[in-house]
Structures are given as C-alpha cells and as structure tokens.
C-alpha cells in the first residue's frame, strides 16, 4: 500500500475524503491515505509546501491561488467544489424574530458579523456591494464561526454572513432566518447557477511529480467519492460522524457540488478565474494568476 498524507480542514467540504476512506475507495486503489486535520488553511498550505502533506481534501481556492502566485507550481487542484443558488453554502442570516429585514438592501445601517478571515470578509462585502450597499452603509465585524449562533441570539448583531452547517442549525433551532443564500454566484459572478469555487481538492506539485502513479490512483478514488457525495444521500451520514455537523441537520444541510477538473465546463472555469481576479484586485492574491495553471486534469 502506498502511503499518502492528506490535510483536512474539518468542514462539510471535506466529505469526499471520508467517503473514500469509509467506503474503501482508497483501499481499492491500494492507497493508505492518512487524514491530518489542521484548523487553518495556511497550515495546510505550509504542509504542502514543505512536503509534510501530499494532498489536501478541501483547500480554500484563494489560499491555493495565493501560494501559486508567490511560489509558482506549488500545488494544483484536481477537484473543485462549486457553490451557487442551487448549492447554497453561504448565506446572510437574520434573527428569526426580525421581520423588518427582507432583502440584502435592508441591511443598510445594520451591525453585521461575518465568517472570519480576509477571504470571507471579501465575499461578504463583495456581495453587499453588488447588492448596492457601500462599505459605509453598515458595520461589519468578523467572528469565529463558533460564536455566530450565540452572538446572533444574544442580539449583538443584526445579521450574519455565515456558512453551512451553521446556517441550517440557526434555522433549525429557530435562532435565525435565512435572508438569502448562494450569494457569491448570484451577486459576484452574476449568474445564479455560476460555479463559485471556494475550495477544492489539491495535490502538491512535488507529489504529482515524484509519484505520478500514486497521484493518479488517488484521483481515481477521489472521483468515485465525489460521485457518491453528489448523488448518494446516505453519504451524509458521515457529516455528523466526522465533520462536526449536528445530526439533526445533517440529512438536509446544503452541500457544495463536487467536480473533477475534467468535468468542469469552460464557463465554470471562467467563473473561477473571475472570482480569483476579483480577489486579486482586492489585494487578497498577490498577483494576477491564470487559474488554468493551477488545475490538474485526471
């Protein structure tokens, strides 16, 4: 068995790894894949750069773009997770009892919290900008995901830009009401069904170069897992088991759509490029980068 080390960011987008592991897809390819959870994406990137990790199950696309801009040919994505209005992972949520806020435009003058980090702030603000709100029109503070529910319930914020599964849990517990989801595709990319790529599966170039066969086998197992993730509802059982999703919402929580690179339509690649370009303009990515250079088709 070939040993592969895969960095995990524990969230629902890590599902393919757990599917492949539990359903023996890795084993079938004679791979022994060890998942190493790391709490921040930079640590995953670091692992890939240094060679402690061969691959990552769900690495933020902006992180990937950034490191490749800094250090070309560090890693490539071999699968991408798309989110859009059909696959609503991100959303604005307001307190359940609040009836005065009905549209994004109503957030004018409100106190908003956002998922943490420059990437999240970038989209949270980008969406509002596209909806016609200037940065001066509201106040926004980033907060750890873990305090979103408490802070919304405590009334310390009027709205939250937050992510699944928190969105579903807020709704299920009657704390919040989903104002609108699938925001990035709709507002920042201009099409409700656009592919907003926030994360994807990645391999280090070093790994692909040094052990091409192993990389290929990994991709094969991965493709099977993605297929299950997209189509088999039973795969969701893994969410509550491994990915910190409350059992109550696991069967229904919206998930992103997984695709291997070869299955992406040109328009979706263009969406990816579009989002990265916007991030670059925002200073989140060091320099302009052609996303095709960081995609690997298996």
């Amino acid at each position: 068995q070939e040993k592969v080390k895969m960095g995990l960011f524990i969230a629902s987008s890590a599902m393919p790894y757990f599917i492949a592991k539990e359903r023996g897809y890795f084993a079938a390819e004679n791979l022994d894949v060890e998942g190493i959870p790391l709490a921040t994406h930079p640590l995953i990137v670091q692992g890939l750069v240094k060679g402690d990790l061969d691959a990552a199950s769900n690495l933020l696309s902006l992180e990937g773009a950034n490191i490749n801009a800094l250090r070309p040919n560090t890693l490539q994505y071999f699968s991408l997770n798309c989110q859009n209005v059909k696959h609503q992972v991100e959303a604005y949520v307001v307190p359940a009892s609040n009836t005065s806020i009905k549209t994004l435009a109503d957030l004018k003058g409100k106190r908003i919290m956002s998922a943490p980090g420059p990437g999240n702030l970038f989209v949270a603000k980008g969406v509002l900008k596209a909806a016609g709100l200037d940065e001066k029109d509201y106040s926004m503070q980033e907060q750890q995901m873990s305090v979103h529910m408490g802070a919304l319930q405590g009334g310390q914020f009027d709205a939250a830009y937050t992510l699944e599964p928190i969105v579903s849990m807020m709704v299920a517990q009657g704390i919040g009401r989903k104002l609108e989801g699938g925001l990035i595709a709709k507002y920042m990319l201009g099409r409700p069904d656009a592919c907003a790529v926030l994360a994807g599966g990645a391999m280090s170039v070093k790994f692909m170069r040094e052990r091409p066969q192993v990389a290929e086998r990994l991709a094969r197992a991965w493709a099977k897992a993605l297929n299950d993730g997209n189509n088999d509802p039973k795969a969701r059982d893994l969410l509550s088991k491994h990915m910190n999703t409350a059992a109550a919402v696991a069967p229904t929580v919206p998930l992103s759509y997984y695709s291997m690179i070869k299955d992406l339509k040109p328009a979706e690649i263009a969406d990816f490029q579009n989002l990265v370009d916007q991030a670059t303009a925002n200073g989140l990515v060091k320099s302009k980068i052609d996303v095709k250079t960081m995609l690997k088709t298996y």
Partner: protein, 254 residues
C-alpha cells in the same frame, strides 16, 4: 486534632463548591441563556455520557500523556538551564531578550514555525507545549536563583563542595520555592498549549479536539463539560505539586 484534619482536607473543596454553586446559580436564574451556558447538571450529564458511552476517558488520558511528556521535557531542560543562567546575572541578561520575546508571543502564532520545523505529527504538539512551559520554568528558576540569599551557597563552597554540587545541592533547593511556582505555572501552561494544539493541529483525539468539535456543532454541554474536565485536570496536576511542596518545601518562609 481530628477536626483539624477534616477541616484541612475539606479546605480545597470550598472553592470548587462555591464555583459550581455560582455556576448553577447563574444558569438557574437564567442570567445567561442556557443554550449559551448550560447548567452544571447538563454538563455533568455530558461528562458522564462521555465517560460511559463516548471516549472522553481516552481523550483525557491522551491529553494527560502529552502534557506530562511536554512538561517532563521542559523541567529536564529548563530547571538546570535556569540554575546556570540564574547564577550569572550577566549571562541571564544577555539571553533575556530571547526568553521574554518568546514568552510574549502566542503559542498559536508560533504553530506555523513549529510545523515548519517539526512537521504535523505528535511531536509538534509536545514540542510547542514543552517550549512554552519551559520558558516559564526557566524564567522562574533563574529568578529564584537570582533572588535567593547567597550565604548558603557560600557556606557550601567553603566546605569544599564542587560547583556542580553547590548548584544541585544548595542553589536548587534555595530557589526551590520559586522554582515550584514556575513548575506549577509550567504544568498548567503545558496543559493549555496541548489543548490549543489539539484544537489547531492535526489531532483526532485529546480534550482540545473535543472542545473544538463540540464548539463547531454548538454542543455547549459537551464543550463546557470538556473545558471543565480540562480545568479539573489542571487542578489535579497542581495538586500533585501542592502535596510535594507541603512535604518537601517545609522551610519556605522560615
């Protein structure tokens, strides 16, 4: 006499009891929404279930193991080093920058550096905890030595004790009250960093990982139960020192 013994044994429980009663009171009065701060009963139930059904015990033991390993390394390296540095104020001053520098840098900010050097395995967690705890122990031991009276060291020297013997037989004992304070700071800090490391780096077990998982799915009873467990563990580790201290450092303040 017997009454005194019982009173002595019960004294430490007073704080714990008061603390739990306060906690219960706050939740009972609903000053804080029980979704955000569960009652002690709910947390106790979560602990019980964790022990019986879940693998709380396993996580507990893993965290203890890491903490003690890190602490052991820290003591083994930093107590002797502290003795040496403390014996020469000039030497200490020349290294003080590095010590104070790292004492003032959050361990979580140093994770990337440790990961770069040691990779994502078990050793990183232990190394970073040993590093953090070691600095505290070093700092306290060195100051213990610097602030200790020098007469006894002189007495040992004049009786012909070798520098090594003076250090281990006199300087160490002379600075022991402060060194113990450092060790107790260190053992708690070592536990803290192990937990934080379990929260952040490549961990599938340990109390820290339980805390972060519970936090993610907003399972507050489980989260506070685990934090409570960690706190009690910390007190337990300190208790070992309190007992040793009572036995061995009888001369403090005499």
């Amino acid at each position: 006499m017997l009454n005194g013994r019982i009173a002595n044994a019960l004294t430490p429980a007073v704080g714990a009891l008061a603390f739990i009663i306060l906690w219960w009171f706050v939740t009972w009065l609903r000053w804080i929404d029980p979704v955000l701060l569960p009652s002690p009963q709910a947390s106790a139930r979560a602990i019980w279930e964790g022990f019986v059904g879940g693998n709380l015990l396993k996580d507990f033991l893993i965290t203890i193991r890491r903490t003690l390993l890190a602490f052991g390394i820290a003591v083994a390296v930093c107590v002797p080093l502290g003795l040496v540095l403390g014996s020469s104020v000039r030497l200490y001053r020349s290294l003080e920058f590095v010590i104070d520098f790292f004492r003032s840098t959050p361990a979580s900010a140093l994770f990337p550096l440790f990961l770069v050097i040691l990779g994502v395995g078990e050793s990183t967690k232990i190394a970073v905890a040993a590093f953090g705890a070691g600095l505290l122990i070093l700092f306290n031991t060195a100051y213990g030595v610097m602030n200790a009276r020098k007469t006894r060291q002189a007495a040992a020297r004049v009786m012909g004790a070798s520098p090594m013997r003076v250090m281990m037989g006199v300087t160490l004992l002379e600075s022991l009250p402060q060194t113990f304070v450092g060790m107790r700071s260190g053992v708690s800090f070592s536990l803290v960093i192990v937990i934080v490391a379990e929260m952040f780096i490549g961990s599938t077990d340990g109390l820290g990982q339980r805390v972060i998982n519970a936090q993610m799915i907003f399972n507050m009873p489980e989260m506070y139960a685990t934090i409570f467990g960690a706190g009690v563990l910390g007190y337990g580790l300190n208790l070992v020192f309190i007992v040793i201290e009572r036995r061995f450092i009888h001369w403090g303040g005499k």
